[in-house]
């Protein structure tokens, strides 16, 4: 055991080419942070962060920090991380994944200290909102993971979210119960999943094309039904009850973490469960091993007796149900009523979250949280009137994704057979 781990860790040190991408990227961003947020910022300003909500068991006073000094200290910390990665790469050693992650957290915090200078914002509501906005992205990304691990590219996440949102709103309105609506969302998502599987697995049509076209189909169908049926019968068909917040006893009373993680509606708790279950199922069960075999090397899987196309059918349907469930967030999870094209490209961000999360459930959740945070931050900063134009904040998730797939923060590789239909000879 020890011998083999040693081999694994030693091998790259000898053969791998030293890559300076990461240290250089970190250094550039560290210097930028030091100059923009620290040295160039006016002195004498204070940044106030709220740490608790009024209903908390224990409440804290907001923390007041001197903006410029805090930003400089944080920037130096991030430069320290950059220096650490330089040293590691120079010694031909692996740089842990925690380095860019921690760097990102510090960088964002520095940015926040600078952007909120002379103003105040509540960290609790910022994080609470981020988690909430990350919910549909994370469910969509999980749906994508289930698809792509079995070798089917899922561009249709957007369509699955949209039909899920539609189904949840209509059924919840008809029955008058949000939880029944929550059950309807995956079934609505399944509609797109069946079409995706039919055309990509059975008829071997190019998966990207089917995905793109199914998104158009979903927009057309839901908008058509919305304008022709829901608008006139808004009272009976499009005024669903919303999912109520269910604070978990004791846990929700923990300062900061409690209100953020455990004072949410059931859809958020379902997300925790889904991430855990899918992670274990994919990486710790026989089923997961088979799915991954189908996604990486279908010929091999077939040879050992795994039915490739049946596995793909199963995973595409399952994935579409998970993504459809995430769609429920848009209606009964937040605003209530369904609106035309209300997912507004969130499905594509979910796709990006899946890639950024390296096709793993936990990674996808992390990336979804990052994008949710960027989204919430943009809303908060929009109100605070900070120096950054709103449009650039909106652009951020997309730019981050491009940088990520271009390999600047480490190589990203998906399942080898994703996108290729399996045609048995």
């Amino acid at each position: 055991m020890t011998a083999s781990t040693e081999l694994v860790t030693k091998a790259p040190a000898v053969t791998a080419k030293r890559s300076w991408k990461l240290p250089i990227t970190l250094a550039i961003f560290g210097v930028l942070s030091l100059i923009l947020f620290g040295l160039l910022a006016p002195s004498g300003q204070t940044t106030r962060f709220g740490l608790s909500t009024s209903t908390d068991f224990v409440t804290f006073d907001p923390v007041a920090l001197p903006s410029r000094a805090t930003a400089i200290i944080l920037s130096l910390a991030s430069l320290l991380l950059a220096a650490y990665s330089f040293v590691r790469v120079r010694a031909s050693q692996r740089v842990g994944r925690w380095v860019p992650a921690l760097f990102g957290v510090i960088w964002v915090l520095t940015f926040l200290v600078w952007a909120v200078a002379d103003k105040s914002t509540s960290l609790v509501s910022l994080l609470q909102g981020s988690l909430l906005l990350a919910v549909p992205l994370a469910f969509g990304a999980l749906g994508g993971v289930l698809n792509e691990r079995a070798g089917v590219v899922n561009i249709a996440i957007e369509g699955q979210l949209l039909t899920g949102a539609f189904g949840a709103a209509v059924v919840a309105s008809m029955v008058g119960n949000a939880y029944v609506g929550l059950l309807a969302a995956p079934i609505a998502g399944l509609l797109i999943g069946v079409m995706l599987a039919l055309f990509t697995v059975k008829y071997a049509v190019n998966q990207i094309i089917v995905g793109v076209v199914l998104n158009v189909f979903a927009v057309g169908l839901t908008s058509f039904l919305f304008s022709s049926v829901l608008k006139e019968n808004a009272g009976t068909l499009n005024s669903p009850p919303r999912l109520a917040a269910l604070p978990i006893p004791v846990l929700s009373e923990i300062p900061v973490i409690g209100p953020v993680l455990f004072r949410q509606s059931i859809i958020v708790y379902l997300l925790y469960v889904a991430v855990a279950v899918i992670t274990v199922a994919l990486f710790r069960t026989r089923w997961g091993l088979r799915v991954r075999a189908v996604g990486e090397y279908p010929q091999g899987a077939d040879t050992v007796g795994i039915n490739v196309n049946r596995t793909r059918w199963g995973n595409v349907l399952l994935g579409s149900m998970v993504a459809g469930l995430g769609g429920a967030f848009f209606t009964i999870g937040s605003v209530g009523a369904f609106g035309q094209e209300m997912t507004a490209g969130k499905g594509y961000i979910a796709l990006a979250a899946m890639i950024l999360g390296r096709w793993t459930p936990i990674g996808s959740l992390g990336a979804a949280l990052l994008f949710g945070f960027a989204d919430k931050l943009q809303q908060v900063l929009g109100v605070l009137e900070t120096p950054i134009p709103n449009q650039f904040m909106l652009m951020l998730p997309y730019v981050v994704t491009i940088i990520a797939v271009a390999g600047l923060v480490g190589r990203v590789r998906g399942p080898a057979a994703a996108g290729e239909p399996y045609l048995k000879e």
């Binding site: 561009i155 008829y203 049509v205 190019n206 158009v216 049926v229 010929q299 134009p389 491009i402 290729e420």
Partner: protein
Amino acid sequence: MSDQQPVPVDEAPTPRTPHKGHEPDAGGSRTAQMLRDVTTGNFGVTVLAFVLALVIGGLLIIAVNKDVITAAGYIFAKPGDFFAAAWSTVSDAYAAMFRGAVFNYEATTAAKALKPITETMTVATPLIIAALGVAVGFRAGMFNIGAQGQVIMGAAIGGYVGFAWQLPPVLHLLLALLGGVLAGGVWAGIAGFLRARTGAHEVIVTIMLNYVALYLVAFLLTTSAFTRAGSNQPKSPGVKATAQLPLLLGDQFRLNAGFLVAILAAVFVWWLMTRSTWGFRFRAVGSNPHAARTAGMAVSSSFVLVMVVSGALTGLAGAVQILGTERALTGGIAGSIGFDAITVALLGRSKPLGIFLAGLLYAGLNVGGRTMEGATGTPINIVLVIQSLVVLFIAAPPLIRAIFRLPVPNPALVKGVSA
């Protein structure tokens, strides 16, 4: 699946010689093979796919119609009422669509009767040009899903040259069009460059660039360089007369010289893909990158070149839209041209003539859909359902054959599909 096709005009000296049946695994060429499967096929399947999509659209229209639902309530007492209501609902809707898209036989003047077809041509113009760009990518094995972003950038830069610069008439127009070409080419070139250098998949990068372009132009429209003096509306000054594409049929119609640009672009793409060295290289790389590399072609640089050419055309579409039809830059300048272009390219099987006709058909559905919505109250969104179903059905000929119980034309062909 290209076997079944009667040899088309531009098929002559290509490396795409049809194989009987597929090799067990052709590695990277599998994607290219699939692309060809979608972009080739016979005309009959196209027609049947269209009919089937119209039928499903009709069923949806019936299902939500109030009169029909009322009649369905007593269907067993008076079935005739139900079928009469259903028939009149669908035929009214589709007749209105025809009136709005092709020829208004209820109009009082000749101009009003002919207005619909010119409107269809106007709307088709940017669609055709952008779809040609997307098709260049498809035939070279690259998915340019970022046409929307390139159309936006082409419109922004082409429009900027059009409203901000002072130049003599013809030169001004040409430079404005060139601005759109360059902007689109650079925007798509980013994706091509990243694919060649880092292996980043162009589908993801182009989708992301769509949003970056959207917000970039939204930002530009808040700056003084792009807004009207003394106004804080997100709308640019009007394009100067020297840079406008002239109207073709007088003030009554919106049809402009952009339509001629679309025809020229179609001829250019035909020439590029079938008569030029670049086109040969594009198709070779698209058919089988490994073979192309073995033959000494620079595959990586082809990725960049393909995307630049593809983006140049979609950027041109944006410039034509602003210089010919819209005449001022707004955040919604591109509408859904870039997304529709993908469907049009698929519908036209990535061939210039096919795209030209598909663009007209697609625009006709959109324009006619508006009339349908106004005249019968059927929401225009049904058009999206019909359009997406047509493409899905065309892409899966075995499904169409199964539904219409058609014989399978070539046994060798089924091997690859239904096994």
